[in-house]
Amino acid sequence: MSPSPSDTQLVAAYRRGDRHAFDTIHARYHVRLERFARQMLKANPAVAEDVVQEAMLRASRALLRDDRQIDLKPWLYRLTRNCALDELSRTRTDSFALDDDEHGLELTGPVALEPEEATARRTSLRETLGDLAALPEVQRHALVRREVDGLSHEQIAAELGTTPQASRSLVHRARTSLVQERDARTADCEGVRADLLRAHDERRRASAASLRHVAHCGACRAFRRDLKRTRQAAAIMLPGPLLFLGAGTVKIGGTIVAGKKAAALAGIAAVGVVGLGTQVYGPGDPSPVAVTSKAVPTGRLAQGQLIPAGTAVVRQEVELRAGAVTRRALTLTCPAGTRVADLLRPEGARLSVSYAPGTVVGRRRAARIVFAPATLPAPARVTVTMLCKRPRGGSIVAPDQRPSSAPTHVVVDGDALLYAAPGGAAIGSLRVGQPVTVRAASGAWRAVTTDTRERGWVRAAALRSTP
């Protein structure tokens, strides 16, 4: 029986192109790494497997990046620890209360603190972790490696595949962002509200510092909301023709009305729905809601985190009139150049809602949104939120969420299903215009990988090759 190859031999084989060598590395270490990750992620051990998968993915890429000598075992443990730290920083503020002593979070140190001081330190830690979680992934990684691991910029640059100067810049930007977030939190509410009032009066966006503060301060958020409502309420008093002034359109109850005055006309034209104003958040704005979507980098965007380039969040608050109405609908429109992505979690009344059949994700700029038939004893308010994304290469999926292979075909059949095997059971659906990569062919069937990394078989007739 031949002895099993050493780690060094496996790394060398993998770098020579032997894909099975990495399978062996995975088989050798993944159980141990999962155990290690579970220990770190005591608050949420269920994600340990995902963390190790992420670490293995990074390892597989990093090993091929250069030929530097690597002591595989400790290196894999470090990668896993960093991924676990990323996961912790991303989820800690949501996953448990830091004030809860049951989780064994000791902040008092060797000298016991006064209760007020301990509470303040817990609050500060919670806020800092929240800020850290809100940083772009690459900045967070660079900062954690520099601050926690004490790595040099040359080492960080090697990990990230960039230059030492870029690593310095990433760490600098991350530190600056953390300081700005802290400043925004502690900013004087009166000063922020004065800036909001000035911006509102001049019909421009408030300063980035004020918006950062608004993302953290519920009272100032309510103040900003009230300002918008005041303007919408005032619009009702305007004579009819002026209601059609403004940029952008909102379609309610089958009637197209103009931008910010939409609410006023909606009250006249609505079929069971009254629009109370549309808000559009673009790149650089703090996200008004948490987003989980393949369209955003890392698949997640925390509430308050800055919206990345090519992405927008469109929100509309609507009032559903009392009584039995079978078809309540409204249309939301994405900013120019972007396309409809996910429908985000509705807030307010618990009424099922969806895109109308015919609204195809990734294809259209406008989405028709339909509420399920229901009898409402009293008017109910719901805030509907939609994610928009600028397509790249025909896909609205964020680059880091896509497969590495370039798409070769596009789906042309709106009812196409993805099958486990030719003629077998279905495992998913495909949408018109979705880019896919054909991996193999068998008669009238094609093995594909979709832009959302789903793999399966599809009828060849449902595909068209991309030019």
Partner: protein, 92 residues
Amino acid sequence: MASAADLRRAALAVLLAISMTMAATAPADAARKARICASRTAVLDSPGGFTVGYLFRGDRVRIARRSANRRWVRVTTPTDLRGWIPVRAFCR
């Protein structure tokens, strides 16, 4: 020459045969209705895809098919949208 009654009988036999064939090949879950028991569940355009709707406890959906791994169900929602929801969203 076949009489009108014979033609009617033949046509009925053909229709019966077609309907029996369709019944035999239809998926077991086809057209079945089911109720959502999860507090809230997202409707996806495909498992692992984009969110296209939301359902709440008590909503009734028509089941079209189950996925190969039995973890996902393709449904038609009360808003006539077709999408996928996880099996765990249903009442057991």
